[in-house]
Symmetry: D4
Subunit: 211 residues, 8 copies
């Protein structure tokens, strides 16, 4: 175990063969395996060439992840610690799903709350209680990235902000959201790289292991 979890495969620069081999090897050792940043075409090729005798991975297109031996995510039971994964808009869903799948793989409970960004703050308020009870909040937003600031003003717990590449023009593929989150005037916020739902989940994992 590296850092308390099986290795997770970064699929972006790997060939289908390399990803398959890694999935099989890690699954054999740990009973589960996860590959992130696997595009739809590459996933299709991996599934099409999968060895018939072996349990096959399943592909989550939104999260762009392949998983093996993962099962269904369960909702947090009463009193169980959980992470709240929140998005500003529907375009940020892919990053939320990557974070959620990574949390599930690492053995954590989570709830996903979507489309509650500043363009329609009224959609946020019904979720405040669930947010307040979370041990950690992952706040995902593109464009101007204002969601973590709003949450930081309302919630006492630690917020890991994830800027996304949603937006165009001077949104600069997520740099504007990234820099805005880093200069937030609200407190209790730290930030990870653009579109890095995986990294936010790993940080939440490092945090949750302290309990």
């Amino acid at each position: 175990l590296r850092q308390g979890s099986p290795e997770i495969i970064f699929g972006e620069n790997k060939t289908p063969q390399q990803i398959s081999d890694n999935l099989i090897r890690i699954h054999a050792a740990h009973g589960k395996a996860l590959a992130t940043r696997v595009g739809a075409d590459k996933a299709a090729e991996i599934l099409a060439t999968w060895s018939p005798g072996l349990p096959a991975p399943s592909y989550q297109p939104s999260a762009r992840c392949l998983t093996l031996g993962l099962g269904q995510a369960a909702s947090p039971a009463d009193g169980e610690r959980y992470v709240a994964v929140v998005t500003a808009g529907t375009s940020d869903l892919a990053i939320s799903d990557e974070a959620a799948l990574t949390l599930q793989f690492l053995g954590h409970r989570f709830v996903q709350i979507n489309d509650v960004g500043v363009a329609g703050l009224h959609r946020l308020f019904p979720h405040l209680e669930v947010l307040q009870k979370a041990t950690c909040i992952i706040a995902i937003a593109g464009m101007e990235g204002a969601l973590p600031s709003v949450l930081g003003g309302l919630l006492p717990g630690p917020i890991v902000a994830v800027p996304t590449s949603t937006g165009y023009g001077i949104a600069r593929d997520g740099e504007t959201a990234l820099h805005a989150m880093l200069t937030s005037c609200a407190s209790g916020i730290s930030v990870v790289n653009i579109d890095n739902g995986f990294g936010a989940a790993l940080f939440a994992h490092a945090l949750l292991r302290q309990f």
Copy 2:
């Protein structure tokens, strides 16, 4: 009259002598004069060397402006059109005051609402009615510049966003706020240059003249 108002003096690159001369000339022609971006030292020198026989300008240190013949600003009477000038934090007050003084100089009514940024959204809500009735909102914020986004989601009227150089590090002297405002996911927002309270007031002036 250029653009429907006496010329306003841009004090930044001018000598005390040049500012004095311009104030006197414009006051003679229009009964009032305004110089923006005049630092405290330069203002002191202008006032110390002012010709005794002439009506002396008064200096507003927060707004960094010198005015001549301007009198007191009056609150908008019932039913009168007005501009709402809103700041996120107390550090943005200087830009709010520059905008307010420019609006007064141009003959408009305004209300100033301060320190209602996303770090403490609850402070914003008592002001919503006044904001909703304004013909135009000037929303001033530094750091991550989220205030216009929040207002844009709550208010139907046009919002002129002014990023400020408040903040440090990756706030980059206001560039992060500027770019965040330009990529706002809320609607009804347009943006002027960093710290340009003067420009926001002139835009509001161009808008108000259409009535």
Copy 3:
């Protein structure tokens, strides 16, 4: 109605199915629907798979928009308020059309004036009267983005400047035009994001609702 208009669909990150569903839902509720940022291929797929029993959307390739229930745009009658949508060059036409279609959708009159940028100022002068009578001007330009500055020096009304990604090299996909417009030495100008004709129209809408 959010902000006084039916929701407008942002087509960029949506599947054809999602866009179709949204168009049908919004059209059912409001009698009209608009989707922006729909590329030609995606539009073709939407039209090819449209349910035969339902009124079909029409596609404006230049504006990259799908509309349903919109009819023909009418010219402003005498004395009617209108927005002037002005471009510097023919390459900026797509953004002008996006703005115009959005204005039409929101129930506003507009005139479009094209190819009057600084490379041939003489082409601008015949249009000055129409520009002076507009309640609001949307000024669209790429490359160095000088058109709003020129208009700002000539016109008293509010100018919403839209930088476009027209140009190459150090034009940086519209950033140079964006920053140039924000530092304009002319007055009465505010700015929206690169290629955001939609946002300029929504700002004009917020402004026009104040009358």
Copy 4:
């Protein structure tokens, strides 16, 4: 209590008078007060003009902080939770002290470990046990900002990385360290703004309150 602690004064844009007033007001209400980002000259003026009848603040020049009613920081007793505040070089000490003082103000234990950056990795190893037992690590580094990456590879707990403006040339006042930390290939790392020791402490506070 905002976010579970008395308000902390951001001294940068405030006059000596404003800082004094705030210190007195907060101290009266909570028995303690803290002002960050107070330069040596401003602190001297505050101390010189302090009302003789009132308990005087003390100034920590390295941290650039004024405190009132704070007492001595105590080392964590056996089994007590604590934050490890680690610096790469001696130039980063000021930010470490700002973080430490803020932690103390918020009622947390901490240890400070200095000068253990990648230029001399052997200096890091004797501290590994103390680092492994910390509930949260604040890792502070300028120049290329490699310290959090090294710690992230060695430690299981959550690391809040603080880039500093130490360095010259292409260090760009901390932007290089900031961006390097955000792209770290190690896991369990999140990042705050350049020189923001205060913000890292507040994030640790949000995290520690969850226990």
Copy 5:
């Protein structure tokens, strides 16, 4: 003669002593000498310590230049070639004066036309004939830098554009003007570095020597 003219001293990084020595040496060899980028304080020190027996330089504070043996600039006689040096605003005058003095030093005729930028285009038109007859135009502007574009659309001759550091915020000390000029949609324009009136004059010199 390097490049057909006596060496010109770049005063910025030189001590008063070094500048004095160079002025004397070059004046002895060529009967004239020029030092650019000499601040007011440095110039005062040079003049105060000048050897009594030698002809003393004269200082032009606006141009920040010291000259020796230069005499008065003469207007171009009828039919004589000349350079037109044009500024957008009064803040650009220093750069115009640096260019003019350098042209005079190199033995060329010039006319200076000031404050004819896009904020008040009507001020430009009375000068069109003088501009059209110039062999070369040096067009100097800060902020959005639109003047060369306007001139390029009106004039057939070669225009050397000089961006200046006039402006604030996203003007970025002249970078916005520089990049705007480089992406001009008008033709016949080339560009030199920010505030480089000297370089524009040297380019005009290289051009004029071809006759």
Copy 6:
């Protein structure tokens, strides 16, 4: 004639049909026509659909230009003015050809000298005489863009520098070359946009018309 030459078609954002129509229209009026920035595929489509009854354009793939009625370029006869178009490397040839074709279209003589950049300065020296006799030099270079600096130190005439997008990594698609050329320590250099061979030729044209 705009600026003393028939309009030149900017092919980048135009459909094949639009380019064909413009070529025919301009050729009818002036006996010659030129379209720049026409990719190979677009050119093939234009040629394939060309009206059989009309004189067909010819395509220069390196220059990415279509021409009609242009004939062969002739070398400058003895004593004739000419432009020297110089490249640093073979990758810059496309921009040299665009400049050359534009010069030919505008009626000027030119010589092309290739691959004489700083990586092999000895290849430059045999061409010095031809360079010294040119009325204007167009110096084209990518990567670090040092060629104009070297030429500026050796040649008395005016040099129009064209940075190209040749290079990778921190070459940033030509920005590094652009900025390097603008800060050249050699004199007599001005600069146009990245890859803008067309613009350099138009500047040379403006310059040559003064004779």
Copy 7:
């Protein structure tokens, strides 16, 4: 011989025909030839159209290089000088292979050590002896680029750092790694352009020729 080696072909902007011709020409003169930056498709085309009578090049897909007459690389014999080519992660292997092949072409010995970056420092330690004995170290890393800093603190020899474009978001295609390496607090490090394994090998060659 240019700089002590046969010319090496930069394949990026060349046609298959040009690359073939150059390979044949150089091979004829020197008995060996190398082309770098040849994509898989271009290589396939070159091989498919290769003249049957001539010795054919072989293609190394990872290094994206074509070689002719090169044979197998040999490990350094005891006491032989060698270069250590080290990567932080498997994604950097392509650049390592480009460097290695270039070194082989230039007649040098090398060892390749892979995947020893800061995410797993324990993997580095077994290689320290081999690294200490190398005459020159080429250290290749993407993302935050911390490997050269770590090596610089451990090794006395000269380290040529190569940033790679591995990473996403604010990694900015290698700029973050490049700037981090340049601001390294460790000593004995110099840096080449992003992904420039070729350039690092040529620098090592220049260094090794001094023995």
Copy 8:
């Protein structure tokens, strides 16, 4: 010994007292000591408060260095290895002197060659033999930073390029020179941080120790 030499003091962020203490401590241990980046005022204070009983350091204002026990630099004797330290202009001398002093401190021979940049290439040629015989060349240049490219084309040995902050406007305090050097089309060049003469000397030291 760290990396084979006594520690060298980085004076920039240290108090006079800290620098004095370090000089004394290192001198006691090694018989020599060096502090870099010590401004003139700080040096004066150190010298004024130096303990009378101890050997006093000497200050080199150009290099901004304090040295103790260093003696005179000796020229390389026949056949001795040496480093050539070359500058483009006189403004780069300070960095050359910092490099030279560091080399001397580390026990190496060097020659300094000044003011041989591309603005006057003829000044370079008389030095070619000395440059060709150097084991390592340190090439220092500001503005467009073309000197290393020119040297790289002429010399077979390794060139460590040092960009300087000389220049204004788009020279961006050395970033343009830095990026230009990194994209040099000449071979055998690697680069260190802006103004980092010290770092270049340390790299040369790491290289020279391999003999």
